[in-house]
Symmetry: D2
Amino acid sequence: MRFFSDNAAAACPEVMAALTEANTLDTAYDGDAHSARLDEAFSALFETPVRALWIATGTAANSLALASLCPPHGGIVCHREAHIQNDECGAPEFYTHGAKLMLVDGPGAKLTPTAVEALLGSVRGDVHQVQPRALSITQATEYGLVYTPEEVAALGALCKARGLGFHMDGARFANAVARLGCHPADLTWRAGVDVLSFGFVKNGGMSAEALIFFDPARAADTLYRRKRAGHLLSKGRYLAAQLLAMLEDDVWLRNACAANEGATRLAAAAGARLVYPVEANEVFLKVTAAEAASLRKQGFDFYDWGSGEARLVVSWDQDPTHIDALAAAIAAL
Amino acid sequence: MRFFSDNAAAACPEVMAALTEANTLDTAYDGDAHSARLDEAFSALFETPVRALWIATGTAANSLALASLCPPHGGIVCHREAHIQNDECGAPEFYTHGAKLMLVDGPGAKLTPTAVEALLGSVRGDVHQVQPRALSITQATEYGLVYTPEEVAALGALCKARGLGFHMDGARFANAVARLGCHPADLTWRAGVDVLSFGFVKNGGMSAEALIFFDPARAADTLYRRKRAGHLLSKGRYLAAQLLAMLEDDVWLRNACAANEGATRLAAAAGARLVYPVEANEVFLKVTAAEAASLRKQGFDFYDWGSGEARLVVSWDQDPTHIDALAAAIAAL
Amino acid sequence: MRFFSDNAAAACPEVMAALTEANTLDTAYDGDAHSARLDEAFSALFETPVRALWIATGTAANSLALASLCPPHGGIVCHREAHIQNDECGAPEFYTHGAKLMLVDGPGAKLTPTAVEALLGSVRGDVHQVQPRALSITQATEYGLVYTPEEVAALGALCKARGLGFHMDGARFANAVARLGCHPADLTWRAGVDVLSFGFVKNGGMSAEALIFFDPARAADTLYRRKRAGHLLSKGRYLAAQLLAMLEDDVWLRNACAANEGATRLAAAAGARLVYPVEANEVFLKVTAAEAASLRKQGFDFYDWGSGEARLVVSWDQDPTHIDALAAAIAAL
Amino acid sequence: MRFFSDNAAAACPEVMAALTEANTLDTAYDGDAHSARLDEAFSALFETPVRALWIATGTAANSLALASLCPPHGGIVCHREAHIQNDECGAPEFYTHGAKLMLVDGPGAKLTPTAVEALLGSVRGDVHQVQPRALSITQATEYGLVYTPEEVAALGALCKARGLGFHMDGARFANAVARLGCHPADLTWRAGVDVLSFGFVKNGGMSAEALIFFDPARAADTLYRRKRAGHLLSKGRYLAAQLLAMLEDDVWLRNACAANEGATRLAAAAGARLVYPVEANEVFLKVTAAEAASLRKQGFDFYDWGSGEARLVVSWDQDPTHIDALAAAIAAL
């Protein structure tokens, strides 16, 4: 019973069916019929004209987004525990040709305007220091917290005032939308977000994320950068098909709801053991080494998180009986 | 009836079945059971211990290979019409951080030791000039010619003598092996090749190429570079599964034979119109604009190649009746 | 009697005096009184508001210029024998983060609009190919030929029509102006040049070149790039002082005239041996190996240029008796 | 009476004389007689064979050093307040092609093995995280503290044990040696330092720092990188001459002693106001805004350092009467 991560789960049936459906000759790269429908499909979802590109990984989507917002000599403000800082082996630096990540603290890997302003205020405006040019937040955060539309908008206003591009790493964007019950537009462009990495792989996709430019003109150079990075697959239709399949009938939202709901059940069992409120599909738990060992002995696998904590992640297809069993086991600790 | 390219064809049934078979929870990235079998499977094929990595595109595979062989201040010798020079939007420069491609001429996009030596001889050995550090050849070439084991070995000897790393862009390696009937080892490490981009996507794969290091130790840094480039897919098992499926029962070779055979039939019909001997699955034809138009009017699609030439590519799954029809149409021009 | 190059000659007395004059405490970097005068001094010379930066080398000046005109995924059109291609160890690739140099041929290392258009016409406008974004010419060329204002303007018009930034590598810009007797503005911004590397080191300077932005706004990012490249010297006043000293009383022009005049004397002696007309301070001579050896035996040092040619360069301070002696020796061959 | 920084002071007479002495034709780049003597001169100083390169700035010297020790996908451990992190506009990222600076805290900008080990221990050894490959310390630190030979050796041992390259940013190396009275070798290679940026500009030089490789073989690639960065001046002899002039008769040590001695006098006057012990030529002082204003009113210029502190730097040629006056003014606050 594995609760390691949502990034290794199976692909959902709609995605598998879409691959089969797309498995016929079509124009190469993104010249195919599936890819051609992406802009329209995501524009409809976001209620504004967007440019939507398929990208095989979240790391590449994030890095391409950042490269579109920040020059090599600029800085990217993000949380000290952001995925782009800690888990992408310097991909942002590679794609931006050496921009500097400027780290801000805050509980639950969440940024506030105050904390961001404090960092901005510490930078001298001379050529000896890297000047901040972009802000990146993770939605939901690395600790499973969500930014409300108001919180995003406050950061968006700050970005506008300070001339920063605004990127949202939405590896678990679907979980955030599912949790908040708000319109995707309210969490993004209406709140000032310029570019969104819209995650599908952790949510039932196989190998396709969507990179969304809310200003379509801004995507132009990224088309070259995607190719140059070896991310323009010749049979791109299989990626487009995955995204379209998950947009249809709100599969993306249904999957995210399922994952969130499982995490909520674990949270209820965890009670005071929770390190953070559970707002998406991740649960961080205070456990002693003995308790962790006990859970593992009962067949539950998960990551230790620092000392004294455990991370449990619920996938879109997590077996409900496993979730119930884990909830019971936690309650019984 | 499309003869544009082999890079847009459907994925073969074995690949589709493998995706379904792999569609269950496993460890993320390349920690899964499928990925774990790659080294062994390719080592068996090549009869030597290799390190084999899945990569989503040939462009990324080529660029990672080159970055492992050439420092940012070095040069990569290749043909003026090489894919890495003309069709990858500067990906080698991106991955190597600015190495210079040093271009050599030769009929059929094929390099000879003489031509390579001439270029090497033109470089001053001082710090003002970029020093060549690697050689890259395409097998089969961009014009569908194959290097024999002896030809590869001659270039391999030159590389060894001159201290150059030796990369083979094997986007159509399978077609070359199929044509030559030789052992894959004879075309690669036994002939001095250090790193091979072994293409599967043009040959019936969906989204996986293999990057083969014949010196396994050389792969170490590439593991970081792959991640850093956003090419370490979290559900990597689907890529590994494609490769394994095509290795099994020599699907890769069977598919390539089918494509080659189709091209051979077209070549027979083309006779004196052939620009190059047909040695793989590409046919370059001398045609007037009127003749090209006539073929298109009959329902055949293909690329014009410069003025007065057409390129026809036969895929692994090209409909035999289409091939016969095209052959007849060419013969009737 | 050394005729190797003008890049190793002594610094002229005005420059040495300026260093002494500047040798007192002032604000660091480019905050000093000398640096503050650069924009005005060069704006006066060019009769238009410019932004002028001191840079320690021509290679850095060229590369910073190119980085301001071309993105990492773009291409820079230049002559196959351009200094930026052959003699800067890939500095343009380093500073642009991997832009591709796109090589054009032409006698005397000189570009024509026809040749440039031919190259541009060969590039497909898709994401698979690097798109040209800048043009760079050398004035005087690597073979000592000069572009007239009309020739520059023709290339400038082409750049404007095709959306290319226009850079002039003016390592020997002074020699070209001296030769043409035209106004510096006519050779540059009035002819469409965006950025000029204005060479002083080959012309009697010690360690300062000027990088001139004819659109001052374009210099903004370069200030960061210069610092980031380690080219913002803390005691920048010594570089500014060199440039100011050579602008005063047209020292730069006087030095260039002296060098050109020497070359003209050698050219007269060379007659039919000349490979190119002598238009600046370089003389390319047809000589047999025996003749070259004979000249060397008489005490003249110079570079062989390919086989059967010699390159002679006259410096601003070349001893007139040496020039006369060499002229006589050439005539006597 | 300016106490802003030592990086804007005049060049010392020995340096000016050396420029005049070198002002005659010699071979270009580093082929001249002065440059040829550098390795020997620095090898004598350090009592071991070294490779010594002139570099125009400390930023370039540091960055070239780091690029020789750390690959693009690696990390460089340094203090959070290190010059390479805060004052070089991302030059290390530019030269290393995107390596990540990994920041460690510690009073006085000084690193301890314990603090470094803590950071190393926090890095997971997988491909998702940037792996530390080098350590860089500043001697004297950004707050004017010195590392003793023993302290350097402890860090050197750590580097050896953990496979890190060891760089010393010796912008004020001379001041540290002057303070410690130890042999330069004991502070560097004998303590495990691989590469040293040996500063001369802040110590009476004009435009030359020395980059010292204690393993000469390691310098090989740096020769290309220096050229590629536009830092191979064609008249390099003027840089070499500066270094040689300051090595001769220990000018470098004499200048540093003078600066240190001035700072010591200020420290004596400052007493309890000192933020850090004064071990080199920098004095950090607790002052109220009113006190700072009072000092300025008396004609003393300096930088505020955060709120409530002032930084005073004494140059090699600081007027003793100014130092006395400032000491008196501080004592009288």
